[in-house]
């Protein structure tokens, strides 16, 4: 088991190196001269060529790309993510400030998505091809099709403005979580519901289910004791992936609800050509995503005794 984890962690490092390299190159290839864009942000419109050049040298933007990347990597190994090119603040501090908000929203959204999707998926599978089934699947299709932007504003208009039940923006109390988590959760729920339904249907057709029924167990025991646990395996994997994705921050929701998360930080940094911040964010998100997928894989072993990592095949 520990050998497995060690191997996975080594792979994670390789993945992260690859991801950050690609992000670095993408920023470099993007149109626009980073030194100029940053100088414009710092010094306003009345810019002179010498100011741009001074900035370029000061921030090391005149070195060739691969050299810049290696320098960045060197700093990383010392756990130094550098300073933002735009605000001169410590990248690591800023990301860590935003991380709790993103993580909390990710957890809340995932919870809501599961609370909607699991019952919906299970009911649809059990009452296959009835009105309930079609209904649930139609609603899930809606959930996938409705853009976050529209849904978010609609929820704000209805729940905040018309009903005065929840605040329309901000971060701070439990109430602030509801609308953003609902917005994110409903679109995730759609896919999860379908997956649950398909997975449960497949499991219900297995031989051991038939055997369980033959042994005289009632439907409820068959469902909860035998079928559900196995049906949930792909769902768990998927939910884990979704969680990793959510940790990358949901820019649209963060913008609409004024949620101080990593997603908006990353997008704003890309537009501002803030190389250090972009690299820092990408690195963090890659780490979180890889770790969450590792946790999911380990969870799999807990849920399914057939999968154990210390078997030497």
């Amino acid at each position: 088991m520990w050998e497995y984890i060690a191997k996975r962690l080594a792979m994670v490092s390789v993945v992260i190196a690859g991801v950050t390299l690609v992000a670095f190159s993408a920023m470099y290839l993007a149109p626009g001269d980073p030194a100029e864009v940053i100088a414009l942000a710092r010094y306003g419109e009345d810019l002179s060529a010498s100011q741009v050049e001074t900035l370029r040298e000061a921030e090391g933007l005149d070195a060739p790309v691969h050299v810049q990347y290696l320098i960045w990597l060197g700093h990383l190994l010392r756990l130094d993510l550098g300073k933002s090119l735009v605000t001169s603040e410590d990248v690591l501090t800023e990301i860590l400030q935003k991380l709790p908000a993103t993580a909390e929203l990710a957890v809340a959204s995932l919870l809501i998505s599961l609370m909607i999707a699991l019952p919906a998926g299970v009911l649809s599978a059990l009452r296959k091809n009835t009105l309930l089934d079609s209904g649930c699947m139609f609603v899930s299709l809606l959930g996938v099709s409705i853009p976050n932007f529209w849904l978010g504003l609609l929820l704000i208009w209805f729940f905040a403005l018309t009903l005065h039940m929840f605040p329309s923006f901000g971060y701070g109390s439990l109430k602030h979580f509801v609308l953003p988590a609902l917005t994110l959760g409903t679109s995730l729920a759609a896919v999860t519901a379908r997956l649950t339904r398909a997975s449960l249907l497949e499991v219900m057709g297995q031989e051991y289910i038939v055997a369980a029924r033959a042994r005289g167990f009632d439907e409820r025991t068959v469902l909860f004791r035998h079928a559900l646990k196995n049906a949930l395996l792909p769902v768990v994997t998927f939910a884990g992936m979704q969680f990793g994705y959510l940790l990358g921050g949901a820019v649209v929701v963060e913008t609409i609800f004024s949620w101080p998360g990593i997603g908006k930080l990353l997008v704003d940094s890309i537009f501002a050509m803030d190389f250090s911040m972009v690299q820092g964010c990408v690195f963090f998100i890659a780490v979180l995503f890889s770790l969450s997928s590792l946790v999911v894989d380990l969870l799999y072993a807990v849920l399914d005794p057939r999968i154990r990592y210390d078997r030497h095949d």
């Binding site: 626009g32 923006f169 909860f224």
Partner: protein, 524 residues
């Protein structure tokens, strides 16, 4: 009862508890504020679109930061709500040598928020060599020195109407107490009616009243600026009562808010103007007639009435807002004349030889690009660009719209690979028409090179004689109308919306400045 059933029951009860607590919590707090949180609660909440990322004089305060700066910091020279120059932290000023040297007499008995006295040394500190303003804006300033405790002398390399430049809140006076012993910035120290209390990054900035303020003390105890990047959410937050005031209301919400009972919508023409900057260095806009044909084709009145719902004033080519200095009331602006536009193109040699609706010359079609930025003003620029595109199609010009971020636009500008850029503002600092510098050859972002124009701009900026300045700026306005280095579309109208509790607010033309003097709250 098997344990799975109990498990599900627990989950349901948990959900019910969460739901209930949400509702109960709501009753306890009330909707934000305003429901009986004290009759004399003078705490204003303002919604802005970006956070204040910098408080120090080494960078330009971008986005909505200046609205917050204008509560904490002040300038030597101020403007009233109609853009007339009035004394600020300097009571008077003179220039003994026609503009090369300026002496400012500072107001006495003023203290910074940290208790240190406001004096000439703090002015020297605020306008030091390292400051953004010296490096970017006031490059001709050679030295700033304190003659005595309350007198400061600015020496310039060439004559310049310096006081007009000193009104902008982006380069205010800051107290040296904002730095610690090592010279690192600690917290904002200004002289303004409010002092900095605290900031939660990307969420809010809290200011409290400065009881030692030299002028009329504010009636408000506290001002909180909440950061809400999405415009629609800001408007809804005003309607729910979560914020008391919002700045920059989107055009499509103005009518709805005006109709809503209690909400007051304040409108005033500001100093910003949207314009189409031509690339005069290459075809087709290197030909003045082609530029003029665009000026005759685009109907700026329709732009304001249809696209902007009547918010703003059609410019018809007028190079800057009529509320600013030296605006020529008799200036002949453009009105739409498609016939004239077409004949100008014909004259310039662009004829539709193949009948496809697009003119051509020497085998090349009249096709070019219109660039729109993704920035803060992009919301109204997008539909405006589309209208321009449609109109120009009618006279036989094929326009491709490109919506890009600043980095990409920069790239295209440096290679000259564009036709027109739709922009706003640029060199707009208070009432002074510095904006003409945009088309000066010395400006790296100018795409127009004309010696006469350069000479006019230089002359106008080097004299301090009001009469002479007026003549020169009138000539410049006429020049821009005639030669059209850029076609000016709309004079922006600032829209601020307040909830019923906000009283005493006077909207100012100055942008970006938030005038909170005299504002108080009457909560019911």
């Amino acid at each position: 009862m098997n344990r799975n059933f109990k498990f599900i029951l627990t989950i349901c009860m948990l959900l019910a508890v969460i739901g209930a607590s949400a509702c109960i919590g709501e009753e306890k707090e009330g909707t934000a504020k305003g429901t009986g949180s004290g009759e004399s609660s003078q705490e204003l909440v303002v919604g802005i679109s970006t956070d204040v990322s910098s408080w120090y004089l080494d960078t330009f305060a971008a986005g909505d930061a200046r609205f917050v700066w204008s509560q904490v910091y002040e300038t030597l020279v101020r403007l009233d709500s109609d853009l007339k120059i009035i004394p600020g932290l300097a009571e008077s000023w003179e220039t003994p040598d026609n503009g090369k040297t300026w002496v400012f007499h500072l107001r006495e008995n003023v203290t910074f928020h940290d208790g240190t006295p406001f004096d000439a040394d703090s002015v020297v500190f605020s306008y030091s060599n390292q400051s953004y303003v010296r490096q970017a804006v006031l490059k001709p300033v050679q030295s700033v020195e304190a003659l005595d405790n309350h007198t400061v002398k600015f020496v310039l390399a060439k004559p310049m109407p310096l006081p007009y430049y000193l009104t902008h809140v982006a380069w205010p006076v800051m107290g040296p107490g904002c730095l610690d012993a090592e010279g690192d910035f600690v917290k904002p120290v200004g002289t303004g009616p409010f002092r900095f209390e605290g900031q939660t990054k990307d969420q809010e900035v809290v200011l409290t009243r400065n009881d030692a303020y030299w002028g009329d003390k504010s009636l408000l105890d506290k001002v909180t600026f909440k950061v809400i990047p999405e415009a629609t959410t800001r408007v809804i937050a005003l309607e729910t009562g979560e914020v008391d005031m919002i700045i920059k209301v989107p055009e499509y919400d103005v009518q709805r808010l005006e109709a809503e009972e209690g909400i007051q919508v304040h409108r005033k023409l500001t100093t910003f103007t949207d314009f189409l900057q031509f690339n005069c260095d290459s075809s087709p806009f290197n030909d003045t007639r082609v530029r003029q044909s665009v000026a005759y084709a685009v109907d700026t009145e329709a732009l304001v009435n249809e696209v902007l719902e009547g918010i703003g004033e059609p410019a018809g080519g007028r190079p800057y807002s009529p509320v600013m200095m030296y605006s020529d009331p008799d200036l002949k602006t453009y009105t739409q004349d498609l016939g004239k536009a077409r004949s100008l193109l014909e004259e310039a040699g662009w004829k539709d030889s193949d009948g496809d609706g697009i003119r051509d010359k020497d085998g090349k079609p009249l096709k070019t690009t219109l660039i729109v930025s993704k920035g803060v003003w992009a919301v109204r620029h997008n539909p405006m660009a589309q209208v321009v595109q449609g109109t120009l199609r009618e006279i036989g010009m094929d326009i491709e719209i490109q919506v890009l971020d600043e980095g990409a636009i920069n790239k295209l500008e440096s290679t000259g690979d564009f036709g027109m850029i739709l922009r706003s503002g640029y060199f707009v600092w208070g009432p002074y028409p510095k904006h003409f510098f945009v088309h000066h050859s010395a400006n790296p972002y100018s795409h127009y090179h004309n010696e006469t124009y350069d000479q006019l701009v230089n002359a106008a900026d080097m004299t301090i004689d009001a009469q002479e300045q007026e003549e020169l700026y009138h000539s410049l306005q006429a020049f821009v109308i005639e030669e059209v280095p850029a076609f000016y579309l709309v004079h922006e109208e600032k829209v601020v919306a307040t909830c019923p509790s906000v009283k005493g607010y006077t909207i100012s033309s100055e942008d970006p400045w938030l005038n909170l003097s005299g504002v108080y709250l009457e909560r019911k």
